[in-house]
Symmetry: C2
Subunit: 458 residues, 2 copies
């Protein structure tokens, strides 16, 4: 018998939880016993994201080699900015970046780990801008023409956040249309670029997505590269979510053309289970653009009269000062399971996704939003009371309330976690992301049974 | 007898270290034995930043309660963006921010943890700009007047990096003069603001420093607040390094006037030993400015039809998506030692600094760069061969080479680590930062002996 003693979640209302945790910070310290109890409480009421039935986001599951690397990182507590204080990690980071670049198809280039894919996407924006207008670093955008960025309507919101933060403005992120599968339409991109130019703006960045957040769509990189080349625009690939398919011989075709990009953002903390945070920003550039764009040459940190090769002091490539070590966990996991182990993990996630898709087709009440290209399974659950009533005026309204209602029950009972969202004109639907190698077919059958159990009376 | 078996550093040349670590990532995985050996190698060749003789940067030392919190954070591996996936941490973060704000002197306000003080400083810049020109979020800087930022010549380089990144431009960071102690001169600030206005620019941010990186100077906040009020400019306090004095009754006067600021950046990963990364951005604002400025309202994450109070979903206050949990370690440490324990830690660091200062005065060859106001001890070591030769034409040149030479020997022998840098017209000098509670007077005597030993023949 297969029994889960551990729930995914021990739901408590915020007020109750605040009480249970006894949050207040006081003048005096506490006994070791009391502290141990606190550690237990924190663990008890936290979400068990490594539980095989946590499918709420793209970071479920756990890899124990990576976890060992994370503990070691914490114990060693150093700053990845100079060889002086992080000799091992400077070398490890270079090696990991090189290996990731090789998977992209580049024999040379540059890169850096960032605190998240959002930051990586911002780096692409800043570099593209700087390549076109190097004076922007000293003089800012003042006096420059209006700059425009292009990305699909299903790209991640960090493109817009980045545009706001970097002073470009959200309205200057031009939204390109997608096809039914959620992939950017290159012809529309071409037209939007021409239109923007005709309006006096300067298009400087196309941000493609490999693995969109909700649908898991892959933009057609080769055809987008043609458009970017034609217009001489920086091509960035946000592969935060999908990048890991590059490990798989079987699935890497989804990113065909990625080697033609100028930059790639790839989050091993998602599909590869490296643990938060682990996000690589990769560049094809060999002209030291990253450092030229970001450096401030602080003399207290990046002294030029050091006794070793100061090119190893990678910190000035970033806009950070302190920088957490995010590479060790990935390096250790990679050493442990090899590229072939990574590929297997990716392939297994696809197999899981196909399994779920097949099972859903066999069950009444599960309705796929779109044919999954990746491991995101987007679907509506139609409760029995609504089946066959698609023509009713209030059908869509009612359908939009089903997922939130099931979600509430699911969390309060703590049996599993899965996310939902609306998308464009589609009302709330669930998105299952099956990436953890700990997930079994039993777990997957359980998801479907559980959604039926929780939603059958709605 | 007091013997250190463990060195601070096992120096290896990069090429040799790369060989020792056998960096390459391969197709197949490795045995557990081999992996254990790797873990040992990583630890062996990494810098021991928790060693009491590591004084190279502002993050030396270790607090074991915080370390436990960090391990727990890694084990629980969740994302601090919604109450749904981080119920405990959402509440903990709110509590810690509230307690930090109380120390600043605010009974209400807002805030968020950022991946580093540099990011916190950028947030201040973005908010100040948005408050003045809300349209910047949608339209960008295009068409706006030239915006200027004011900061002292000794402020942290992240102010310039932030200005470049946000499209303001480094040339629009106006450098304000400092007095001999390294503190911003408010009269010069006032003049520079007037000058900038007269040139058609719009001054929008003054970034003061509480605890400058090199000298440890505290800008006179009260007098700067007067200038900011007069010109209606956002006052930000970069207290990344010095903020922790607020715990100490004896030393908090250094930040008198901080409650008049609009925002404060404070890094508990520095003086409080919370572990990297831990950086709080605090705001006096109660109008939800942080969220209004940064939000993108992603419907897949920040659904408004959730069954709990969605104001708890703090993620849209940031420009990140994934966000590491940085609050647990601080909360746990604070619970363990209380505010009084934190205060003692700060007071002890001051006592250490005074001890070092006194000892240096007693020894020939140690020459303070300036009277320390904080726990940064800046000094030149004058080797016997140079003493009394201050008038020689090559004296400054030679002096500038002493610290790098001693540093090289120190690292190659691995006995201790301390940083050096030039500053303005001053040639290379050492900066000792004594913050770890594990440092003893024996360690401090050792520093001085060791610098003499390593530098006496220069
Ligand atoms: C396609 C895509 N890009 C970027 C991001 C942002 O990455 P991060 O959460 O590390 O900032 C995400 C996160 O979900 C994503 O799905
Ligand atoms: C005064 C000051 N401000 C800001 C920073 C940057 O903080 P972080 O390293 O967390 O980005 C530092 C770091 O040394 C600092 O000393």
């Amino acid at each position: 018998m297969h029994v889960f003693f551990l729930q995914v979640c021990e739901w408590r209302e915020p007020e109750e939880l605040a009480q249970l945790l006894d949050l207040e910070l006081k003048a005096t310290g506490e006994s070791q016993d009391r502290l141990l109890q606190r550690v237990q409480d924190v663990a008890k009421y936290s979400i068990k994201t490594s539980h095989p039935r946590f499918l709420n986001q793209q970071f479920g599951g756990v890899d124990y080699h990576a976890l060992a690397g994370r503990f070691l990182t914490e114990a060693l507590n150093t700053n990845l900015f100079t060889y002086e204080v992080a000799p091992v990690f400077v070398l490890l980071e270079m090696e990991v970046l090189k290996s990731l670049r090789q998977l992209v198809g580049w024999t040379q280039g540059d890169g850096i780990f960032c605190p998240g894919g959002s930051a990586s996407n911002m780096y692409a924006m800043n570099l593209a801008r700087y390549r076109l207008f190097p004076e922007v670093k000293s003089q800012g955008l003042y006096g420059l023409p209006r700059l425009t960025v292009f990305t699909s309507s299903q790209s991640h919101y960090s493109v817009k956040k980045g545009a706001a933060f970097l002073g470009i403005g959200i309205d200057n992120v031009i939204v390109v249309k997608v096809d039914d599968g959620g992939c950017m339409i290159p012809e529309d991109l071409d037209e939007k670029i021409k239109l923007s130019k005709s309006q006096g703006a300067v298009p400087f960045l196309v941000s493609c997505t490999s693995g969109t957040t909700v649908q898991g769509a892959f933009d057609p990189l080769d055809r987008i590269a043609d458009v970017c080349e034609k217009h001489k625009i920086w091509m960035h690939v946000d592969a935060a979510w999908g990048g890991s398919v590059l490990f798989s011989e079987q699935h890497r075709h989804l990113m065909k053309g990625v080697d033609r990009a100028n930059s790639v953002a790839w989050n091993p903390h998602k599909m590869l289970l490296a643990g938060l945070q682990c996000s690589a920003f990769l560049l094809q550039d060999t002209t030291n653009l990253l450092k030229r764009c970001h450096s401030a040459n602080a003399t207290y940190l990046f002294q030029q009269d050091k006794f070793y090769d100061v090119n190893l002091d990678c910190g000035d490539k970033t806009v950070q000062c302190s920088r957490k070590v995010d590479c060790l966990k990935l390096w250790l996991m990679w050493k442990a399971i090899g590229s072939s182990g990574m590929a297997q993990r990716v392939d297994k996630a696809f197999i899981h996704a196909r399994y779920l898709e097949e099972q859903m087709k066999k069950r009444e009440g599960f309705h796929l939003v779109c044919k999954p290209e990746f491991v995101n399974i987007c679907f509506w659950f139609i409760p029995p009371s609504m089946r066959g009533k698609e023509q009713n005026a209030d059908y869509q309204d009612r359908l939009g309330k089903v997922a939130p209602a099931i979600k509430e029950r699911m969390m309060k009972q703590g049996t599993m976690m899965v996310g939902y969202q609306p998308l464009a004109d589609k009302v709330n639907f669930f998105r299952l992301v099956v990436l953890s190698p700990q997930v079994s077919t039993k777990d997957m059958d359980f998801f479907l049974d559980e959604i039926e159990r929780l939603g059958n009376d709605l």
